[in-house]
Amino acid sequence: MHELFLVIDWAMAIEKLILIAFIVILSLVVAMYETYAERKVAAFIQDRRGPNRAGPFGILQPLADGLKLFMKEEIVPNLSNKFLFILGPGIAMLTAMMTSAVVPWSSHIVINGRNFDFQIADVNIGILYIFGVVSMGVYGVMIGGWASNNKFSLLAAIRGASQIISYELAMGLSLIALLMLSGSLSLRTIVEQQQDSIYYVFYQPVGFLIFLVCAFAECNRTPFDLSEAESELNFGYHQEYSSMKLGFYLFAEYVNMFISSAVMATIFFGGYDIPFVNDANFGQEHGQTFLAILQGASLFIKVVIFIFFFIWVRWTIPRFRYDQLMRLGWKGLIPLALVNMIVTGFIILLKQYGWHFS
């Protein structure tokens, strides 16, 4: 047993633990301020001001919201399944957080001769892992709807789950075309490939569009938010939840948004690559640490732009009806993704054979 302490690589374990704590805290803080940003941007679009009373410019508003959610009474419906009732928001939050494990937040920094990577787990199957975890997120919605012992919640949960699985297909298909270009599922490899050449969004514009639409659907975000709409289904699957469980559901949606933005920025827009700057030369001149910080900041800026885009679209477009949504997912996006895949494969083969057809 004592030998176990010598065998474990303590440096790596501590390094990963610190990184995990840092990224979890970062996700939560960003999700918190995303709620603030949503209210402010929504207000500015609607010709009003948004919260500006809690702290200067309303910066402390998310803290007030969090405190309010903590202080509310925890209601558990009498006839609901208690274990599943508490499990639902837990799974939603868990899967939202787990996706952040494979996203490369920055390149490495060098401490004491060790390379300290800013990625919790650089697995070979990065994108596939993300898909797996997102598919598990369906469980959070379904379990929440079922455990509420409420027909409307169940109906909303069924709609939500069917929406998520329909758009997952199109998402996967659009990524296959991208994988044909990059040849690797690992996210860090994809970012490194984009550092040398053009960002993949210019190689795959249609793929990016499909992925964007599917990301909206995965996050249950307008125009696809009919499973949590007030007027349609009485708040949907999180109707029966109060206090912190509801907080978990809402927060899981915002963390999902943040992670989807990060994944989109990584796959299509170069991730932590600073645009128009040759990163390797910059690293030689100014030191690796400074470069790593700037790269992290660059990814963060891209994520913020995407989040603004999410919020902007939410307050522009009205909600889809359920049959319109299904028709778009199955009859619109999947054929488009398939065609995109075929065209990409065609062009890649053509390029391989030197632009000749024989």
């Binding site: 941007v41 679009i45 010709d47 009003r48 500006n52 522009t316 477009i317």
Partner: protein, 191 residues
């Protein structure tokens, strides 16, 4: 199709402003949704930079008109003597029965406090009953009560909404001139 509908309903167009509904199938660009979405998004983006009509209350307030019927004020004359004689006409006129008062006789030492021999020792307006109609202001023969431009602030219990004489009396013009001027506001006093 339109003709047969018109004939079966025997309808003639009454004005020339009616237009038939456009039931053409969507064009390719319309079916794509993307151009329409982009147009909509540019409109919302433009709204971010427009000027907001919100007024930052309580730092800035909207100006009220001078005839705004707000909180009651018990008036004094130019020398600072209270005008109210507790005649009870305002209490009679009030449709919500919000005003109550108790009269008292003026002692010879209090000549400079009250105008006439009868004055109101207790004058209470229940702000929760008051409907701010201004009938008390119209009914008063002594120009003693009028409705000013402020409004009643929020409170935690019902008792604190019964405003007594100390809350309603206007500040003394000789002893507290600035507050008197501020409280007078834009009201034009009849002469």
């Amino acid at each position: 199709m339109a003709d047969s509908d018109e004939k079966s309903f025997n309808m003639k167009a009454l004005t020339n402003r009616s237009r038939t509904v456009d039931r053409k199938p969507m064009t390719f660009w319309e079916k794509m949704y993307i151009p329409a979405i982009a147009k909509g998004m540019s409109i919302t983006f433009g709204h971010i930079f427009k000027k907001k009509p919100t007024i930052n209350y309580p730092e800035k307030t909207r100006p009220f008109s001078p005839v705004f019927r707000g909180l009651h004020v018990l008036n004094r004359d130019e020398e600072g003597r209270e005008r109210c004689t507790a005649c009870g006409l305002c209490a009679l006129a009030c449709p919500a029965e919000a005003i109550t008062m108790e009269a008292a006789e003026r002692l010879p030492s209090e000549e400079n406090l009250y105008r006439e021999e009868k004055y109101a020792a207790k004058y209470e307006v229940n702000m929760l009953r008051c409907i701010f109609c201004g009938l008390c202001e119209e009914a008063c023969p002594k120009d003693a009560v009028y409705l000013s431009e402020t409004f009643a602030t929020a409170n935690y219990n019902r008792q604190s909404f019964i405003y007594g004489k100390k809350d309603l009396l206007i500040p003394h013009p000789k002893l507290q001139p600035e507050e008197y001027e501020k409280a007078k506001g834009l009201r034009v006093s009849p002469k």
